[in-house]
Amino acid sequence: MEKNMRMTQIVESTITDMSPRIQLDNVKKVYKSGSLETIALRGVTLSVYPNDFLMVVGPSGSGKSTMLHLMGALDKPTEGKVFIEGYDIGSLKKNDLANIRLTKVGFVFQFFNLIPTLTAIENVELPMALANVPKKLRRKRAIELLKAVGLGHRTTHLPSELSGGEQQRVAIARALANNPAILLLDEPTGNVDSKTAASIMQVLTNLNRDGRTIVMITHNHELIKYANRVAQIRDGIIISDERKEQEV
């Protein structure tokens, strides 16, 4: 995949722990619907580092989700630049963007977004199938991932047969399938009870401790304690960005 990709800019020639995995540089995003223009981001500059467990908080319509979509190469900025592991998202072609989503980032959504016609294990295998991982290997890894999120016994169930918490854990396992360095979560605990939310947060904390960069959007201020960095966004602008030291 690297060969096919146009490497327009690499932030640093060698990516060390200190180089940001995601970098937003004065990013503006405007949605046009007919003659109506909606400004979602008004100039966001933000660097997300490998060890970050970044919690993004803000009211509805503040631009949180838009920012997450840009961080996950689902969308391109209207102005400014977005870099994901050094790749300039704005200058990439559709296929290259798809490759970034396939290998560099993992998405988890509020409404789980599992494929309803696939079983838990098939859902986890899906990103690996997209990445042409051989069948045997992906089945093995899917079982490992489901075990890791505590669902080793529910592998052949359809999403409709799983509880909200279980579905979300399948979604996390799926996001990790191709071993991405970045995990992007859009209110992952928004549709589960507080106990399940706590267990999900524990899984995420462990993943972050293992070196995965996590960016998570939430409305729930109680969850802030799990993060090591909190950014507040309002009207498309980051109004605060605090790093907490040595949170256990």
Partner: protein, 425 residues
């Protein structure tokens, strides 16, 4: 994504949406069933029909008559020439002619077990006639050897009029035939008694002999006090001599005659059948196009319904061509399964139709006056002929059409914006 995985994904969706997939498939199934059953039945019909025609017309036979066989495109032509019984003697001596007989065909009533039947009575030179139709004009019992003026050869269904083993007429029976003829301006109805010398084997198919009586030509000519005949049938030694014999006969009649060959009739029949098969295939093709539109319709609905799923797939890193592939694979699978099922159902339909529907082609003759109908129990069974190439072609057609009609909705699916698609509810 590998093709195998694309298929896996498409199939997993279809499995969960069995009813919808089946209904979509149904259109293809019906179209292919129509094509396969019609073509295999058409082929079988053609083979059976030509076989039966050859049987009843004889091989390398010519019919000298005053009315030309027009065929589907040509027009019939009628000549004023009168055919005489002696003409057959001339024709018999033409080089290349194996046998020839004049035929005087009349209608008479026959009483069998106190039931009156109206039958065709053919005045022919029986030994010559047997040479011309050597494959069908064979004795079931008796022989053609000791022929007298009052001899009669009886068709199988006349001897067995009940359609079972019960034989109503036996050799050496006396058979009373009521004939009506004109003497001057008067109509005279008289009974004539004939002696049965032979009963014919069942010819079946289109042959008229099963429900006819054959008597010596001279006898019929005497009764009707004429030397005019209905037509002359000629058997030619080999097919390459047909044209020369035809020419010589035409010369004899100064070109004022029609010489119809069984081959010409057969080839006309064959071309008519191929036109029929082509025509009905065109209707089946329309059915398939309708099925294609059905696929397009379902796919369009499906793409809209699955907008969110498309968004999820894109967020997971699926490329546009993968999405395109998934929807096309679904269409291809629908086309393939519909095609396979259509071929199977087509063959079943063809076999049922072949054995049941075409029973109506059974030969027989209708009642007239108060007389009873004598129906031949020989129904024509069409054995469908399935050409494997037709199978392969219809399968390709089913898959190809399904893919073509799914192209537009699948393309739309692949081009959906991932963010918009994810927000779709």
């Amino acid at each position: 994504m590998r093709i195998r995985d694309v298929l896996w994904y498409a199939l997993s969706h279809m499995k969960k949406k069995k009813k919808r997939s089946f209904l979509t498939m149904l259109g293809v199934l019906i179209g292919i069933t129509a094509i396969v059953s019609i073509t295999s039945l058409g082929n079988g019909f053609q083979v059976t029909f030509t076989g039966e025609l050859e049987n009843s017309l004889g091989v390398n036979t010519l019919t000298v008559t005053t009315t030309s066989f027009g065929g589907p495109s040509g027009s019939r032509q009628t000549y004023d020439t009168i055919l005489y019984a002696e003409d057959a003697d001339y024709i018999r001596n033409i080089d290349g002619v194996k046998a020839a007989t004049a035929v005087k065909s009349v209608t008479g009533d026959v009483h069998i077990d106190n039931i009156s039947y109206t039958l065709t009575i053919q005045g022919v030179n029986i030994s010559e006639y047997a040479k011309i139709y050597e494959s069908t004009f064979k004795t079931y019992s008796g022989s053609f050897e000791k022929l007298e003026n009052d001899s009669v050869v009886v068709g199988y269904n006349v001897a067995f009029p009940y359609g079972n083993e019960t034989q109503a007429i036996h050799d050496e029976d006396n058979l009373t035939v009521t004939l009506t003829y004109r003497s001057g301006v008067r109509f005279i109805t008289r009974n004539f008694t004939f002696t049965v010398v032979a009963i014919l084997q069942q010819a079946g198919g289109f042959s008229q002999q099963d429900t006819a009586l054959f008597v010596p030509l001279e006898t019929v000519l005497d009764i009707y006090n004429t030397t005019e005949v209905s037509y002359i049938v000629v058997s030619v030694e080999s097919s390459d001599k047909i044209d020369s014999v035809k020419e010589k006969i035409k010369e004899y009649y100064h070109d004022e005659i029609a010489v119809n060959s069984s081959e010409a009739l057969l080839s006309t029949m064959e071309s008519m059948f191929s036109i029929m098969v082509l025509f009905v295939s065109a209707i089946a093709a329309v059915a398939l196009i309708v099925a294609g539109v059905g696929i397009m319709n379902i796919m369009t609905v499906s793409v809209t319904e699955r907008t969110r799923e498309i968004g999820i797939l894109k967020s997971l890193g699926a490329k546009d061509r993968t999405i395109l592939g998934i929807f096309l694979a679904e269409a291809a699978v629908i086309g393939f399964l519909g095609g396979i099922a259509g071929i199977i159902f087509g063959l079943i339909t063809a076999n049922i139709l072949g054995s049941q529907l075409f029973a109506m082609f059974s030969s027989g003759f209708s009642s007239s006056g108060g007389t009873r109908t004598l129906t031949a129990n020989t129904s024509l069974v069409i054995t469908p002929i399935f050409d494997p190439l037709t199978g392969v072609m219809s399968l390709l057609l089913a898959v190809g059409l399904s893919i073509i009609f799914a192209l537009q909705p699948a393309y739309n699916a692949s081009k959906k914006d991932p963010v918009q698609a994810l927000l779709y509810f």
